[in-house]
Amino acid sequence: MATHVRKFHGGVHPVDPEKARTRSLAIEDIPAPERVVLALQQHIGAPAKAVVKKGDAVKRGQPVAEAGGFVSVPIHSPVSGKVVEVGTCRHVLGMDVPAVVVENDGEYTNADGVGEAVPGADELTPEEIKNRIRDAGLCGMGGAGFPTHVKLSPPPDKPVDALILNGAECEPALSADHRVMLESAEGVLKGVAYLRRVLERDGKLPATYIGIEDNKPDAIEAMKHARLNVDVECEIVPLHVRYPQGAEKQLIYALLGREVPPQSQRGLPMDVGVVVQNVGTAFAVHEAIDLGTPLIGRVLTIAGDAVGKPANLRVAVGTPVPGLLESRDVAPDAARVIFGGPMMGIAQYTSDLPVTKTTSGILVERGPIEQRFDPCIRCGRCVEVCPMQLVPTRLSVLAEARMYDEMAEWGVIDCIECGCCSYTCPANRPIVHQVKLGKWLLAQAQKKARAQQEKEKQGKGGAA
């Protein structure tokens, strides 16, 4: 069945002893803390707008913020209690974002409809399912956090005929998706069934694939087994173990052979008729509709070489991370905290951030890594491993020479920042850093140019 799976170009195969440790750790339920910090920007798009004020009583599953636009999602409280502050908190990208702080009364009183199946779930129209997903605050749980309902709303000129569930979990060390598939396979499949119904077009359901890296044979078995009980027509496809197998464009290519146009052409999976959702998101869809529970919790992996007791935890969104690390036996010489996986995660200067809908893992590591780098020796490994088929060495050398305009010519915008190039570079060149810098400077220059144009236009208008 799956013998036709293609290999995407490039990629690396990181040695991954940590995954071997975390994969066998069953998900532990962690009770919500005394205070939850609900960032209002947990997704890509407009921040949510707070609908509560200090002193308001809230119930579990009640929205504390509404979507700030179409590309936005509401935020719900995972606990019942009192709003003690509407302020700010740190975002994983380094800025401060608005946040609502709720004090937990320990009662977990549910808001209306929470914890109960949506009545008549079997008869919901696609539009009703989609609204339900939107109101439950769902966004991609793999990392980027793109609002789920937006992905499910392809414009009429971009017909979608395939749905891909991303269970690759190619980041080393992380096992959150793996455990979800293993422990909640039926829930995932039920969520998949709803997703399929949303994407129904002219009475035809999309072809559905669940892609899982073949280093998780137990998850593949669990999903296949669950399919006996849940009536979902889908193909469960074992994928090559190769990072970044779970990157959207690479996953689509591996499964369907379709090439999504790159970022410089604003390419999206729907351009090739595909919608990709993370398996964790599918499970959240199941929870939202069959259990009436909005997205107020998630599974994440805590790992890293400074963590004595790694774990897979189901935690409330908004749980401050320092509390989670307390019982994990973190070494005193821990030097780095990384949100996300080892390849694309973002290092933080403090662990004092709340868990968000997109926090798939938290790594605590020892010692800084070597920052000194050598000249490029043109070994070509970065070119070999680049899944976007860029020439990373060129980008790196251009960045070093501050030739940012030329970087655009060499496709810097198309880089997905997977980190394969830096990972493999024998000269230890900070290629991803240079790419991020180049992108940022190019965006700044563009902004400036646009402002200049506006000004000239206005100047002309004034003169006339």
Binding site: V12, P14, P172, K249, Y253, E259, P261, P262, S264, Q265, A335, R336, V337, I338, G340, P342, M343, M344, G345, I346, A347, Q348, Y349, T350, S351, E365, P368, I369, E370, Q371, D374, P375, C376, I377, R378, C379, G380, V383, E384, C386, P387, M388, Q389, L390, V391, T393, G411, D414, E417, G419, S422, Y423, T424, C425, P426, A427, P430, V432, H433, K436
Partner: protein, 400 residues
């Protein structure tokens, strides 16, 4: 907490590790050089390495840069420079070669990674003109009457027993239709075993080699190159036991490190296995030379054109500096193209140059110049083999 940019993992390979591995991979060829040419081979090699390292250190000091001789790249250049010199050269030959190789060939461009030409070959090319009699004699003094495989040694002591012998490439130079056996007959190369076998068996062995090569290429493509090394080990064994005798073992006159195809292949395969070189590049280079050696027509003394000369293939491929060039010179990361496609084009270009120089040119060896010429074409090859970004549609489709 320390903030660093992703990725937070590295595969642990470093530039010094690569360079020192290459140096190590040169060891089998060096050992054969010592065996064939005696202690003077070691002397010249040591001088060359010391001069290269010293030149690099002094220039970096003068330029106020961090001295990076411990990364091993100057050591590799020193080894390669010595390997393309005969063991008989005077001490100042490697000195001048090192200054040109490191000073002009590498540091003048900005140091490691910035040079356009293979430094060792640039040094060698300079020596070719500076000391033509020392570095490119067509005949080499050897000591006759040694035992075993016709072991040769340099006539460093000016022994009265010394006789001079031509290198295989010099014997071939300008002579069409010289059969393999005439190079071998009465020479100290020893009898190549395959020609002692009945013709049919020789052809069967040849066929096995060809089929093995085809299967090897296919399997290598499917397994991303690792198996290429394994298949190559088969070739090593074949070389060892049968068809080429002393030539592939390296018991022939020549430069210090170039004579033993067998030892060079051993080191080269290690590099292929550890992914330090792309097997496609040496393969493209060797195959191109082999094919052209067979098919390029030559004019005989009688004015007659001879086209097909199978006998030349093995000599051109195995004798002379081709294996050294194919595994250690043309594969230099800095001066070869980035992509696999580019490297194949690069290998073919250099292979064509070797064949043209050797068969039509006035110079028995072509490896050095062929690689320097290909080095010059490298930026152009890189330009035309730049990979197309994943998912980027051709402009026409994008516009529509």
């Amino acid at each position: 907490m320390t903030v660093t940019v992703s990725p937070h993992r590295r595969d642990g390979d470093t530039v010094p590790l690569i360079m020192w591995t290459v140096a190590l991979a040169l060891f089998p060829a060096f050992a054969v050089g010592l065996y064939v040419f005696g202690w003077r081979a070691g002397y010249v090699t040591a001088l060359s390495v010391i001069f290269c390292v010293a030149t690099e250190a002094i220039i970096q000091k003068l330029r106020g840069l961090r001295v990076t001789v411990s990364d091993g790249s100057a050591v590799v250049t020193g080894l390669l420079l010595a390997f393309v010199l005969p063991a008989t050269v005077s001490w100042y030959v490697p000195l001048v070669g090192a200054i040109v190789a490191i000073g002009v060939g590498k540091q003048a461009f900005g140091g490691l990674g910035a040079n356009f030409f293979n430094p060792a070959l640039l040094g060698r090319a300079f020596l070719q003109f500076a000391f033509p009699t020392q570095v490119s004699m067509a005949k080499w003094p050897i000591v006759a009457g040694v035992t075993g495989y016709g072991r040769l040694a340099c006539d460093v002591a000016g022994s009265v027993d010394a006789v001079t012998r031509a290198t295989p490439m010099a014997l071939l130079q300008g002579k069409p239709g010289v059969p393999w056996s005439s190079i071998v007959d009465g020479s100290p190369f020893g009898p190549p075993m395959v020609w002692l076998l009945p013709g049919a068996i020789a052809w069967v062995l040849f066929a096995v080699l060809v089929i093995g090569a085809v299967v090897g290429v296919y399997v290598s493509v499917r397994t991303e190159g690792r198996l290429a090394a394994v298949v190559g080990i088969g070739a090593l064994l074949l070389f060892g036991v049968m068809p080429t005798g002393d030539i592939s073992f390296g018991m022939i006159p020549g430069c210090i490190g170039e004579t033993s195809a067998w030892a060079l292949l051993l080191g080269g395969l290690a590099l292929v296995y550890y992914r330090l070189i792309n097997w496609r590049l040496p393969a493209a280079y060797l195959v191109t030379v082999g094919v052209l050696a067979a098919f390029l027509p030559m004019k005989t003394a009688g004015g007659e054109w001879v086209a097909l000369q199978w006998g030349r293939v093995m000599t051109h491929v195995l004798a002379g500096g081709l294996f050294l060039g194919a595994f250690f010179m043309i594969t230099d990361m800095v001066t070869s193209p980035l992509t696999s496609k580019g490297q194949v084009a690069f290998g073919i270009l250099a292979g064509v140059m070797v064949a043209l120089i050797r068969i039509y040119g006035g110079y028995p060896e072509g490896v050095c110049y062929s690689i320097l010429i290909a080095n010059a074409a490298r930026p152009l090859i890189d330009k035309y083999t730049r990979p197309v970004v994943f998912g980027r549609r051709p402009p026409k489709a994008a516009a529509a």
